[in-house]
Each structure stands twice: as C-alpha cells, then as structure tokens.
Symmetry: C2
Subunit: 299 residues, 2 copies
C-alpha cells in the first residue's frame, strides 16, 4: 500500500561522550524512510539545498525510497548539531540552521496524492498540515511533533491533532502537551485532542501504545551498544508505519505487531551514526530481531 | 511449599513531594512477607525491639505470616527515614538507626529449617549467610542486596553470591557490583559471580530477568498514582517468590509468570505508605492486575 512521508532531510553533527560525527545525513523524514523501506515502498516529500549529495538521493532510490518529492532548492540544506550526555536521555542542541527549510512550502507530487498511509515526521505543524491537505486519498495519518512546536505553535498543532489518526511523541512531550505528569493519564488526554491512538516513546525504556480501548507496553530491544540515538524516534515510526502500510490494515493486533517492528528499526538506528546500520541491514535482520524481541516479552 | 524470609522489620519515616508518614511499619522482610502471603504461607525471621507493636505481629499472623522467628530484643526497633524527589528515583536517606539490628544474630527456629524456598531480603550479607546456613533443607535461595553492602561488605557479598540461585537488584546496584554500565552486560556478569539468574529492577520502567539461556523484559504495572515507593523491590520479590513456592517449581516459564506476580504486588505497594494497600488487597485483586498486565504485554 502506498506510504508517504514528509519531514526534514538534513545534515546532522553529533557529539556523544564516546565519539563524534560531522555532517552525517539525517532528518526526520530520512530516518523514517530508511526504516519504512524494509516493509514498503516510500514516497519522500521534503527539501534539501544544492549542497545535498545527489549520490545520497540515488542511494535512497536504490533501497525503494521515491525521491520525486524531494525539492532541491537554492541555498543550503537544513543543519542540526547536538551533543548527548552519557545517559543518552539528555540532549543539548548546539546549532540549528534552518536554511532551505525557512521558506519550505511542501509540494506533494501529483502521482503521490493517492497515498493511503501518511506519516508527518517532525517539522512545523503548519507545514505538516499543508502537506497533509494535498494527499487527497489519505486513509491513515500519523504525526510526530516536538517540544518546540508545543511551545511556539500550539494552535497549529491543535488544529493538526484533529486531522490525524495517531500521534507519536516522547514522554516529555506528552507531559508538556497535556500538562499532566502521569504518563498514561497524559496519553489519554492526548486522545481527547483528536488522535485515535498515541505512541509514547520512552527511549531505552521502550514504548507505550495507548488507544481508547487498549494499551500495549513494550521494552526497547536491548542493543549491545548505543552509538548515537539521533533519529531513533523517526526510525521507530518508520518501522511502525512501514509494517502497517505493507499489511494494509490498522487493527489493534496489527498496531501491536507494528510496535515491535518500530522497536526493531529503532534498535538498528541507535547502533551507528546517521543510518549506517539501517542501510546495512536486510529484511532478514529485521525479522531476526523481531523474533528475539517477541521471545523477550512472551510469557 | 515452605517459604522462609529473613531481613528487616522496621519503622520507616518517609517524605515525598506530596505527603509524609512517620513511623510506618516497614523493613525488607515485612514488605516481602506482606506480598508473598497472597500465594503461600510465609515464615518470617527477623528482630524487632520492645517498641514494636504486638498488634502488628498479630496482624502478620492473621494474614498467614508465621512470626515465631521474629525475635523481640531489648532496645528499639530498626528505624529508617528518607525523602523522595518528584521523579521517585532519587531517594535521600535522612536517618538510619540500627538499634536492635546492631547485634542481631539470626536464629532460624527448628521448625523452619525444612523450608525449601528461601529469600534473603536486604540486610548485611554476613547476616544473610548466617540465616541461610541454618536452613538445612533449602532448595531454592534468592537474595537481595544494596549499594551499601557492595561498598562496605564486598567479600561477604561475593561469598554469598556463590551460595544462591538468584539475585534481585536494581540497575544502579548491578552497575556498581560489576563495574559495567551496560545493563544487560552487567546482568550477565552477575551470573559469573554465582547466581543462575538475576532480576534487574528498574522501578517505573519495569524489570528484566536474565539467566544463562533466557531473558525476559516486563514493564511496570501502570499505577494511577504513586504514593510511596519504599518497599517496592521487596514487594516484587515477595510476589515472585510467593508464587514460585506456591506452584513448587522454578522452570523458566514459571519464573516469567513469577515476574508478573512480583510486578503486581509491587504495584500495590507503591500505592500507599507502608503496606496499607497490600494489606487491603485480596487474591482476586492480585489476579485481576495479573490479567491486566498480561493483556498489556501480549502481542
């Protein structure tokens, strides 16, 4: 089934207590696409600058990511630089250069408009909404967001929440969005804002799926070594949505399986800078970790 | 099957950001026993002072906890006072008065020595060892410990580790005991020290069971409101061991079910000061939460 993602494609410079990498390819839509592509063809809508390597776009196409929707604009690509503390949960943004993102007006190519599954990766809610409205055949829409938008674009975000089926967000964002410190209460308050379900990401502590009728809790896949957590949430969303699009249904039991696939793609993401580890993995690696994770949680 | 616990029986004074309680009944063995008693008769070995209410000992007996092994010594009972931060994970010890514990020499009553299941709740490893050696019929021994003993009684602790089947400890203790920051690697290093399995408690983030052949990850039961986390680890151990003693086997699949029961008894523990909430609960409440937790983790 057709799957479309819109969000950022960027250069990330990341420092960790153990290592660093400058100008790695990143961005919310890029991590999403590199994870969803194990399951389903992905249509990518975003913007890069003239400095973005054509080879990377070719690499995307090579693994099943359609880049027709990636606009190459005059100027430089979006850049983000950050540093992680040893606990991996504390992240300091060192630099943000919006560049071509500043004037980005998402244009969904004509041939993408029949997409049924849509993921609005993290970017300004107004941009997410603009992209969403162009996908006229949409049937199942999930969005991500971040504390910045909860802070400076709350009205846009609330308008968006009324138009989506699911929201993925981390624990801190859930608390910030709802003003509720108790995590599951916060999740239920998110549902009152519009979405039919939400996924609470808790990093190394796993994720929660909360909908009106059901809750599902899942630990993270226990990786041997974290190298760089950047993009883990987007990779989670990619595995989650990629699987749903591939099996073409969103029943509660399917959402639970999708949580496992999202957890698996996120586990590959954190094992390297950028999406190096995701790029090397094959579908059989995904299935092997799925089975291992399933075994880990089964009574 | 006969189940014996040795550890502390104490008065706790606890402050949280929301409330406080002075001189509540607590202690590692008391929380354990109040949780294990849902499943199996419990034999309690410990010491209290003359200030300990006889009514409480009668209450213990009333719910199936044998207090024949509780020595009433001259002097005052062990007292602990602490304060929790709003994240519940940061705990400050404000006061510790060993009192009768200072000269405690555990005496396991003759009629307790045929106990097959033994839990050595948190107390000095030398005391745990002394108690252990008296339980001549022991078949399955699990111990708890704390950072203090890892720090000041490492040799005693290492000697004990060679004599037990399982160790329950929290993530920080596992890292401290093994010098390994990666949690699952730390768990496997614990196994090299003697135990056949260990349970890593992560508080609100659940628990991990690690043995040579298998790993099992379980989220915490999502309680509506935490009132006081004191005793949660001991209550976990109580549900865990109580269930094992009741079903009389320690197969891998049984250990996994026991993890759920431990998680359930811990969830009641944190909902009140002392073991108020555990004392009010009945076996049907335990089963209801077991089913809810099972549903929460089932694919």
């Amino acid at each position: 089934m057709s799957l479309l993602v819109t969000g950022t494609v960027a250069f990330d410079s990341v420092e960790t207590p153990y290592d660093k990498r400058d100008d790695a390819i990143g961005g919310s839509a890029a991590f999403f696409a590199m994870s969803a592509r194990f399951f389903n063809h992905v249509r990518l809508v975003g913007v890069v600058g003239k400095d973005f390597p054509e080879k990377q776009l070719a690499d995307f196409r090579h693994v099943g990511i359609d880049t027709e929707g990636v606009e190459i604009a005059d100027g430089k690509s979006f850049r983000w630089a950050g540093r992680y503390e040893a606990d991996w949960n504390t992240r300091h943004t060192l630099d943000t250069q919006l560049n071509v993102l500043e004037t980005f007006d998402p244009k969904v190519p004509e041939q993408y408009r029949d997409s049924k599954y849509v993921f609005l990766a993290n970017t300004a809610p107004a941009i997410q909404m603009k992209a969403l409205e162009q996908v006229t055949a949409r049937e199942f829409v999930v969005a991500d967001t971040m504390n910045l938008w909860i802070d400076i674009a709350k009205d846009d975000l609330h308008a968006l929440l009324k138009r989506i089926d699911g929201l993925v967000l981390n624990d801190e964002e859930a608390r910030m969005l709802t003003g509720e410190t108790h995590l599951l209460t916060a999740a239920h308050k998110v549902l009152e804002l519009g979405p039919k379900f939400c996924v609470l990401k808790k990093g190394e502590h796993g994720a929660f799926l909360v909908s009106d009728g059901a809750r599902f809790a899942l630990p993270a896949y226990p990786v041997d070594r974290v190298v760089d957590p950047t993009g883990a949430g987007d990779s989670f969303a990619g595995g989650f949505m990629g699987y749903l699009a591939a099996v073409q249904n969103t029943h509660p039991a399917t959402l639970r399986r999708a949580m496992l696939y999202g957890t698996v793609t996120a586990s590959f993401c954190v094992e390297s800078f950028s999406f190096d580890s995701l790029a090397k993995a094959g579908r059989s690696d995904i299935e092997a970790r799925f089975n291992e994770l399933h075994e880990l949680i089964t009574l």
